[in-house]
């Protein structure tokens, strides 16, 4: 036990030194109060019913899910990421005044405090652009949704043609 004593003292001393350095660096930056509050909040985001449409290598496909904000603070979906495709964006299907259907990139979607945002057919969806491999029915794939406050939320979704079609397994958040 005695032999560990000098090392123990050295470690405490080092910690104090590092702490002091950190404090000095921190003192030189003014962290906005809002950012501190946000970082102190729990993620508060849960995601369910994750599913992905089938798609082929080099083609596009979409993913859908239900996002719930369990916190008292509004959040914003600011994007998605995955190694499944060249590019991942959050898109919105919309109808023009003359009844035509279109699709566009949406950089941010609000998720109300204690509210739910549904990414569903005919509406918002995660867009996988230029898939790097085939995404076939019955397989599972991971991707990440990025929230302004909640940070990165990793998901796994099952591939199926339509919600409720054939597959009993549901997509889920990664534990």
């Amino acid at each position: 036990m005695k032999s560990f004593k000098p090392i123990f003292i050295l470690l405490i001393a080092s910690s104090i030194t590092f702490y002091s350095c950190g404090q000095n660096e921190g003192d030189s930056k003014e962290v906005p109060k809002e950012e501190i509050i946000q970082k102190e909040l729990p993620a508060g985001i849960s995601v369910s019913d994750v599913w992905i449409r089938p798609g082929g290598e080099g083609m596009n496909t979409g993913a859908f899910c239900v996002i719930t904000n369990n916190s008292e603070t509004p959040d914003t979906l600011i994007g998605a990421s995955s190694d499944l495709a060249e590019l991942i964006e959050v898109h919105e299907t919309y109808e023009t005044e003359s009844g035509q259907m279109g699709m566009r990139h949406v950089p941010a979607i609000p998720v109300e405090a204690n509210g739910t945002l549904e990414l569903k057919p005919g509406s918002y969806h995660v867009m996988f652009i230029q898939l790097l491999k085939d995404v076939t029915v019955g397989t599972e794939h991971s991707f990440t949704l990025n929230f302004k406050n909640g940070g990165a939320v990793e998901l796994t979704g099952i591939v199926k043609d339509m919600p409720g079609m054939g597959m009993k397994k549901q997509g889920k958040m990664k534990e």
Partner: protein
């Protein structure tokens, strides 16, 4: 005047038979397309004598067009259940630059579609636009995405459409594609059968 009376009489007779109006007569038209196997298709000549359920899609569409395609699959299944045999399913792409026969074939395979009475068509852009204009399906380039490698992925603003065409190549009813009422379309097919 005689011609108008004849057409009116014919329309009333046809309407009386199946309650479906005459929207557009394609019987004198000729469009050259190719299917998912790269075989030439003379449209609508090839399908004359069959009831045609026709959807309009582009495969880079991850939302509306898969819904339309899935609705066509559901109609195909219902038609099979009803024992109606004289029905052809056709999906025409309005993005021939991307939608080659190989891409269309893969699109169908990924969805395990029954291609025994279903063809996916593509072809020359002028032929496609000519048919779209005739059947009043709107499809123009809209937003796009650019991948990190600089590839531009084009999206379209388009009509959401499944058309029901009779055995004489006359469009008899236009339905929404992604929000199609399956039973209404099946009833339409039954009335034409």
């Amino acid at each position: 005047m005689k011609k108008i009376l004849l057409l009116t009489g014919l329309s009333l007779f046809v309407w009386g038979c199946n309650n479906l109006e005459v929207i557009e007569d394609l019987s004198d038209d000729q469009y050259k397309f190719i299917n998912q196997d790269s075989s030439a298709v003379n449209f609508p000549e090839k399908y004359k004598g069959k009831i045609v359920v026709m959807g309009f899609i582009f495969t880079n569409c991850p939302d509306i067009c898969p819904l339309t395609t899935n609705n066509m699959r559901l109609i195909q299944e219902r038609v099979k259940e009803e024992g109606i045999e004289n029905v052809q399913f056709v999906s025409l792409s309005f993005d021939p630059d991307f939608d080659t026969p190989a891409i269309l074939k893969k699109y169908a395979e990924l969805r395990s579609l029954d291609l025994s009475n279903w063809e996916f068509l593509t072809g020359d852009i002028d032929d496609i636009h000519s048919l779209l204009k005739t059947v009043q399906v709107f499809a123009v380039k809209g937003d796009s995405s650019v991948t990190p490698k600089g590839n531009v992925i084009q999206y379209y603003i388009h009509t959401d459409r499944i058309a029901l065409i009779d055995q004489e190549s006359v469009i008899r009813k236009n339905h929404f594609g992604s929000k199609a009422n399956i039973e209404e379309i099946v009833d339409g097919i039954k009335s034409l059968d």
